[in-house]
């Protein structure tokens, strides 16, 4: 299949950009990626009209670092979204976190904003809940959503319920004003997020101003929820209901673009922030044929269900062989909007322009980090595990299993195991499930490993780690008195500051 020639790509206006970012949705949750019940007709149609990326990766197997990387185009080890409290441990931004996205990071919306775009984030931010870290301080013009995960309900004494913001001000809290029924799973939040998206698109189309919409919905993150019309409609239980509702939301958003006649000027990416939470068992999603899930650097934790859609520019029904990363959105959007990328820092994303428009493939490595530790690297269709780990036996014996029903000797270890002397090689083409470790004395190993190690060595030698943002926790920084709480009479008293080193068990 061939893309359209670049000659047809004349941006008289700058293109709009939409990222439909799911939360903890797995590669295997989409019909087009093999979910057996095939309950995602809108996403499958999006793929039929666009380009599928089966080899697309998050920069990290959990929420916050993945999202920080998406917006900064840089690995967590560079943008500071990691911890050094414990080697190779996952860390994120619960509401006790002190840190957040550093001011020195230049986010995609900041650059777009400077070049005339209006940007909106709908849903979960997750790059720090302290005021200085909020989206409107980092390039977004509008926000509807929350700074942290929708965990709860809390008692508002020891722990405040998570606030929901409209732009700079809090407009209510989860479980108080924005309900999620923890027994039935009912919540109308996805419907609100859909309406927020279509209204924004309509407003921007009327204005004729280019826009960036970051639709960071979270119905597939625990606690999973769906609205009444979708409850009980899936063969897959509540999780499937949530997927169906999000799928219908994608359908509504694409239909809105088409109805308004801006589809041909809007590049839309659908993807997810990390692999499905296999530890949630049937309350979580599916990583299809891939090993393990969220929190791990196996394919199940890192590979994301990705579709690009841009009628008139991307030829329909294509499957890209490009190895991609969520960090590529940064470089791709800048490229397509003719905005120079920052030249004073390393950018890990690459522009997918040529992949999208000409079906070309660019060789590039993928680095799988967990916390501060480079766990694995992929080049071409081969992946080298430099370290292996699922989680510690203590956690595992508590029933936390990142690889339920799976056990690949030497790979799914419960000890952090260092293989840097002789990395474990996997052929992701013939063995996408990472079950068969290639012998070090084989010709394949001798052929493929040197190039991977060279890429690793090059990466590490040039690496300047950012200041780790996820080391310190403090109850005082929780969402006690978010801006706007006074107007609502909903401010809560904050405790005295008592910073402590965050505990990251995995």
């Amino acid at each position: 299949a061939t893309g359209l020639g670049s000659s047809s790509l004349r941006f008289e206006e700058k293109p709009n950009f939409v990222i439909l970012l799911m939360d903890d949705m797995g590669w295997g949750d989409l019909g087009v990626f093999g979910e057996p019940s095939k309950e995602t007709p809108n996403l499958d149609q999006m793929a039929a009209e666009g380009m599928l990326f089966p080899d697309f990766y998050s920069a990290n197997p959990i929420c916050s670092p993945s999202r920080a990387s998406l917006l900064s185009g840089r690995l967590p080890i560079r943008n500071g979204f990691y911890t050094t409290n414990k080697l190779g441990h996952d860390a994120y931004t619960p509401q006790v976190i002190v840190g957040g996205i550093p001011d020195e990071e230049i986010l995609l919306p900041e650059l777009l904003q400077k070049h005339g775009y209006r940007n909106k984030i709908i849903g979960k931010w997750h790059l720090g809940q302290q005021p200085q870290y909020h989206p409107l301080k980092h390039g977004f013009d509008e926000w509807f959503g929350a700074p942290n995960c929708h965990f709860g309900p809390f008692d508002d004494k020891k722990t405040p319920n998570i606030p929901v913001y409209k732009d700079a001000d809090m407009v209510g809290r989860y479980y108080e004003d924005f309900l999620i029924d923890r027994k039935t799973g009912e919540s109308n939040l996805t419907q609100i997020y859909i309406k927020e998206a279509t209204s924004f698109i309509e407003a921007q189309t009327t204005k004729g101003q280019p826009f960036f919409l970051y639709w960071a919905v979270d119905a597939t993150h625990e606690p999973v929820y769906a609205s009444r019309d979708f409850l009980g409609t899936s063969r897959r239980g509540l999780y499937g209901d949530a997927v169906r509702e999000l799928d219908s939301g994608v359908g509504e958003i694409l239909a809105t673009l088409q109805r308004l006649g801006v589809d041909k000027n809007t590049l839309v990416f659908f993807t997810s922030d990390n692999g499905a939470a296999t530890y949630a068992k049937t309350n979580g999603g599916s990583n299809g044929p891939f090993l393990c899930g969220k929190q791990t650097t196996f394919e199940g934790g890192s590979r994301e269900p990705t579709i690009a859609w841009w009628p008139g520019h991307i030829s329909p029904g294509q499957v890209s062989k490009q190895t991609g990363s969520l960090m590529d959105f940064f470089s791709t959007f800048l490229d397509l909007a003719s905005i120079p990328a920052p030249a004073d820092r390393a950018i890990d994303g690459i522009s997918l322009r040529s992949a999208l428009l000409h079906s070309n493939v660019t060789d590039r490595p993928i680095f799988y980090y967990r916390g501060d530790l480079l766990m694995a690297a992929r080049l071409g269709q081969y992946k080298a595990h430099l370290w292996t780990w699922t989680n510690g036996l203590e956690e595992y014996h508590k029933g936390i299993d990142f690889c339920p029903g799976e056990n690949v000797e030497g790979l799914t270890t419960h000890k952090q195991t260092n293989h840097t002397d002789s990395p474990l090689l996997i052929d992701l083409g013939a063995d996408p499930g990472e079950k068969y470790i290639i012998k070090p004395h084989s010709s394949v190993y001798r052929k493929e490993m040197p190039a991977i190690l060279e890429a690793v060595s090059k990466h590490l030698s040039g690496l300047k780690p950012g200041v780790p943002q996820l080391n310190w926790c403090d109850s005082a920084v929780m969402n006690w008195a978010p801006q706007g709480c006074e107007k609502l009479g909903r401010c809560l008293p904050a405790p005295k500051s008592q910073p402590y080193k965050c505990v990251w068990p995995h």
Copy 2:
């Protein structure tokens, strides 16, 4: 999605039928079912133009019994394709087998033949290699292919190479006249099978006589092979090369039907005879998200990648929620050709007419047999394991692993374990990978299990097992002197008859 009304289905001529039966191809080997490299564009297109059946089953997790059931519409326990040498052991038809398809069985081609159809089998028969069992004695008018698997090369002294037949006569032998290079995997057999298919369709179209084509190709069964043009073209190794060649063959066959203008009068099914041979590791296929593989009654052994295609009758792009079986081809074809099914015996297939033409769903149980033992049963989206077994520890310790990298406590047992007192319940909707056994005291268990057990009880109470055909082996019955060998000067001396009880290790 709705099908076309029955009013539009007026068969002025009887419809043609084509079964494209793969050998050991897994559910997860097709792009449309989530194979990550997405290398089956023709099959994916067939699905886009037709109806996908994600919940479709073989009657047995190995070749011969699965195929006997496909052609007879009856479970192996009825048609005799099982052994009683050992409880619940898999058995098939190696060339030492004495038995074959019994004359009492009425095969689909026999009935079609009586009603004016001309029938051709291309590829592997596998229902007995003794002359009385051959396809031309059981309803087929033409044959190009072999009675047994393409194992070898043999020495023609202790073991004869497997013959290839054209109709009633042998025309050569594997590894002598029909080459498979065991080092490179090169063989042009699939190309021959494609040509045989398109020539037959052309001839029948010219004649204007309805036809049944049973394309039983075997390139994905060990030893896996592909022709030179396809070698090295897949990201998945030789196995992927074979899949790509078969995929292109499907494309050629469908294009031939279209070119000749008979596509709207030809119902085509694509499927496979059993799950991918996971024990073959990267030399075998993929069962996607499903547990274990060939030889087992887990979903990986039993669920088949199935697509129906019938332009003008089946609306394009549908996904059927019908639970189906390879045995349904028997009942469906008879129904669509207005041929009465045999009334003197139990038929396990059901007609899929209503599923195909009206997108309806009929409730029906699926019975998972291994040898003479009913291992599991599915009703709706729930599956009850009455027995569990992978293989014995002795075999397992030899390195034969039906569930590589997988281990579900209580399910993937290495002892034949009887759970009939309290069967293990699985929700295949939320848990297609069979990882989470539902607790017997849960409300779901109490709601779903009785109906499954009632279906099991009804099935077993009415069951009259056929005479087991797979108990006896004898070197004298091997392919020493197939009909036609005299003309070629290729007859081999047979040893004296020494029947013995076949050994079935799994």
